[in-house]
Symmetry: C2
Subunit: 330 residues, 2 copies
Amino acid sequence: MKIKVAQFGLGPIGLETLKLAATKPWAEIVGGIDIDPAKIGQDLGDLTGEKALRRRLVYGSLEELVACAKPDIIFHTAVSRFRDAFGQIEPMARLGISVVSSCEELLYPRLREPGLAAKLDAICKRSGSRVVGTGVNPGFVMDVLPVCLTGVSREVRAVHVQRVVNASTRRAPLQRKIGSGWPPARFRRLFKEGRAGHAGLKESLALIAHCLGWKATDIVETGKPVVADHDIRTRHLEVKKGQTCGLHQRAEAKVGGKVRLTLDLKMYLDAPNPHDAVQIEGEPPLDVIINGGVAGDQATVAALVNAARNLLRAPAGVILMTDLPVPRIG
Amino acid sequence: MKIKVAQFGLGPIGLETLKLAATKPWAEIVGGIDIDPAKIGQDLGDLTGEKALRRRLVYGSLEELVACAKPDIIFHTAVSRFRDAFGQIEPMARLGISVVSSCEELLYPRLREPGLAAKLDAICKRSGSRVVGTGVNPGFVMDVLPVCLTGVSREVRAVHVQRVVNASTRRAPLQRKIGSGWPPARFRRLFKEGRAGHAGLKESLALIAHCLGWKATDIVETGKPVVADHDIRTRHLEVKKGQTCGLHQRAEAKVGGKVRLTLDLKMYLDAPNPHDAVQIEGEPPLDVIINGGVAGDQATVAALVNAARNLLRAPAGVILMTDLPVPRIG
């Protein structure tokens, strides 16, 4: 019995998720959902260029998809805010359909929306569905991986993660999302208004604290533009010297009055020496480097698809990645 | 309701496990078990130097312990071979007591003893107990961690792990176990007879293959002595130039006719640049270094104690570490 899979959101990440899922022997793709009128009614085979997806269609709504074929699981790649995702995911959960979402705030939804998180959890429990948020960041490098490392810790005094991403190698929407080409003042203003920046840092921090049984206080997030010191041209866009070419974002929290959790993310065009690093201060101390880092878009798509089978074995509810068995390709 | 904990095996690792468990707010230590007549009847407070363990005794058998207080979980640190562990763990499982064991072959017991593994699994399922084997190696660096890393992989073509351990910093039994002071010919002979060397490499390899859905064939393990190039004196022993000062052990396996899994372990006195390294060949490629490595004995003890609460939430049976939620301190 194959797992019936649908895709909600057919942007670059959604299309790649669909293509990867289509290669899995356990998956039967039943269709896609998007609100873009230009995509509705199209053949997924044409949209993705994958023969295996021919005669699977893009529907304009969940209802229309379900009228043709009800999926067991939906990959949801559409929005960053849980508040926005809720209205899209809630009807899926009501129908007993499980959801793996790239929605950053869904990594730890009760941080910002405890009421909505509890509501969705109750719906899942009634219908037997499961919802999880995952990805690379949030979803792995700055949360699941450090938590996993503490599995060999006698004592943890602090957790620090740094991530340097060379955005020049990433997809167009990401290059734009980090503010490329903006005057630095615009980045600062939009970041302050919560309309620019990378989503999910606070959620990563909250997930670590949750897993370690820590009460995090004084959670602070800061973000500033990285300003280009030379003209930059990528496959997708151009940035002049003096314009924003990415971001430097940081979240930290105190535990017991001391700063014990720090997450530091630099994501900008032409960033040298991309890497991920985790330090667990404690017994034993752990000093981990991922040379080159976990390459973004490929890995994000993989994280979503790889979570599916672990999720379908989990009890009903809004699930945390750290509640699932050790992640793996599958 | 605290979790009632007992310790089977009161060597250095067992005593440290007990001491760490005693610091956990969820644990109530009810006693220890050892076959050493010199230890039976002793007070764990005296044996460990921990006041909190006073008036908990060492019993000569499981029956005597259970007659006084039945534990929910036993930390079992006694033997490397599952065949030897079976007779010790089976009566615990029959009584519905769960077991976290440092027995290396229990990481993946069906590799060498599929019959015994199935038998123990059936006993656990009847009684509602759970048994898991864990530690740092096997249990984390060469198996759980690489599996976890593939959670962000679209494709995995090969997994390679290297571990360099400076045995000079380790406990006396480990320094002796790696052959310190032996003539190299003796190490070679005993390794060939299966009476020397580090246990668990093949189990790590089999666990990775299992998690990746790979059929591993041509599993080969080799081991040779590392010969001291200078006189070495540790806290525990002395080795002359020309004698064995440790081991270089390697396991590899083919998948689909190609070598795709390699585990390489160097553990010797005064080893320079201790570290752990994992390479996932695939999409994306991952290149991970743990500078200094995961420091052995402390981390082994932590891995055992940290697994307890995750295990008690798992379904009954012989459980793999990769079936449990993401490891964490707890």
